[in-house]
């Protein structure tokens, strides 16, 4: 059985999906382009961010799979929620996510995003990320190794190629549900007011 580098190489060379028959040729082409150029927002939200530099640099070299970093949310396709997510971070993540342009995907890293992890009884950490943002792929582990992250990405690529990854549509359709949950923990109306007021308020940080 092939594993590790060989498996990745095979995935890289081979066709990533077999369930493409239901797509039109334009859709197929668009999805093919999308899955081969995933721009990941350079944004670490928790301790899991420490696994991202090795994933993207020469040791594991995610760019051979078409995965690379993006500097701003407007250019990014994927946001990685890497690790525990406190209320304060959640507000920034939502803000960032809403600034990203469609199609956009969420990759959740680590057991904290799945069920709270070691912060299961923390007063300041959310327990299920999918209540607040639509999650395309969970990568579990504490912390997941770069291999796991790459595997998560490959699975995400497969879903994109098959036209199944459509979380941003889910977010738009069920916007009220997500907003309700977000406001329940953030304690105020979450409306994007794209001004610099949230860190330049009176007294400042």
């Amino acid at each position: 059985m092939e594993e590790g580098f060989l498996l990745e190489q095979k995935t890289l060379e081979g066709d990533l999906n077999s369930e493409t028959s239901h797509q039109s040729s334009v859709d197929f082409l668009m999805n093919w382009f999308r899955k081969r150029s995933i721009f990941v927002l350079a944004y670490g939200t928790g301790c899991g961010a420490i696994e991202m530099p090795p994933t993207f640099t020469s040791r594991y070299d995610a760019e051979r799979l078409g995965i690379r970093g993006a500097a701003t949310p407007r250019q990014a396709d994927v946001i990685i929620v890497s690790g525990y997510c406190s209320y304060k971070t959640l507000r920034r993540i939502i803000r960032t996510y809403e600034q990203m342009s469609n199609p956009k995907y969420v990759l959740a890293l680590g057991s904290c995003t799945v069920n709270g992890g070691m912060y299961w009884d923390s007063y300041n950490t959310i327990k299920k990320l999918e209540d607040y943002l639509p999650v395309d792929m969970y990568v579990n582990g504490c912390m997941p190794r770069p291999e796991s992250i790459l595997e998560g990405f490959i699975e995400l690529q497969k879903e994109i190629g098959a036209g199944k990854a459509s979380s941003w549509q889910k977010y738009e359709e069920n916007h009220e549900f997500y907003r309700k949950n977000q406001e329940a923990v953030l304690g105020e109306k979450v409306e994007p007011s794209y001004e610099a007021d949230w860190y330049l308020y009176e007294g400042g940080l």
């Binding site: 209320y87 304060k88 507000r91 799945v114 069920n115 709270g116 299961w120 009884d121 923390s122 007063y123 300041n124 959310i126 327990k127 299920k128 209540d131 329940a184 923990v185 953030l186 304690g187 105020e188 007294g203």
Partner: protein
């Protein structure tokens, strides 16, 4: 120095915790005077930290001020006890600039009011309306059960210790059973051999 401190500020002796660390417990109303005394007469110019311990059983907070000399060779721990409810404490943010953010943190986590500190806004929390979270009457698990939902499947997790014990016992029993079977097989083989002869 220790004698002056004992006679003027404290009721108890100065405790030498380590060669470079002294500790004294004083009444709250002498705190400011003692810090001034150390600041003006010696080189204790650096406020390292202000910490707070919640002694809920005794009904008070213990505020500890760590003051270090300029060359960082000696540290003084000045501990004072204040009440837990509607605590109002004098701020040292005018004297030590770094006290501002320490007091802001204590205000957020314990609800202590520092009079004279001009910015006591939330530091790491946002829109917090409940009991300050580091006070010991605040039950985090209760709060989580009330405000957040757990993913299903956590409730059937097994106790690791009990599970390990059970598995070990199973393994041991299996091993013994194997051993007995092997012995029996050996015995029968021997018997067959002897019979054959």
């Amino acid at each position: 120095m220790f004698k002056t401190i004992k006679s003027n500020f404290a009721t108890a002796d100065v405790e030498v915790k380590r060669q470079d660390l002294y500790k004294v417990v004083i009444k709250y109303d002498r705190l400011s005077a003692l810090i001034d005394f150390l600041y003006n007469n010696y080189t204790y110019k650096i406020l390292n930290a202000i910490t707070c311990t919640d002694w809920i059983e005794e009904g008070h907070f213990a505020l500890t001020y760590l003051i270090t000399t300029e060359d960082r060779s000696n540290t003084f721990m000045i501990q004072t006890l204040v009440g837990r409810e509607d605590t109002k404490v004098e701020s040292f943010s005018k004297k030590f600039k770094q006290a501002q953010i320490m007091e802001r943190d204590l205000h957020e986590m314990y609800g202590i009011d520092f009079i004279g500190n001009d910015n006591l806004k939330e530091l790491s929390l946002e829109n917090w309306v409940h009991t300050p979270p580091l006070r010991r009457e605040f039950d985090t698990l209760e709060f989580v059960n009330e405000h957040l939902t757990f993913r299903e499947g956590r409730e059937d997790n097994v106790d690791v210790k009990a599970e390990t014990k059970r598995l070990r016992a199973l393994k041991k029993a299996q091993k013994e059973a194997d051993k007995k079977a092997k012995e029996a097989a050996d015995a029968s083989a021997l018997k067959e051999n002897e019979d054959g002869k």
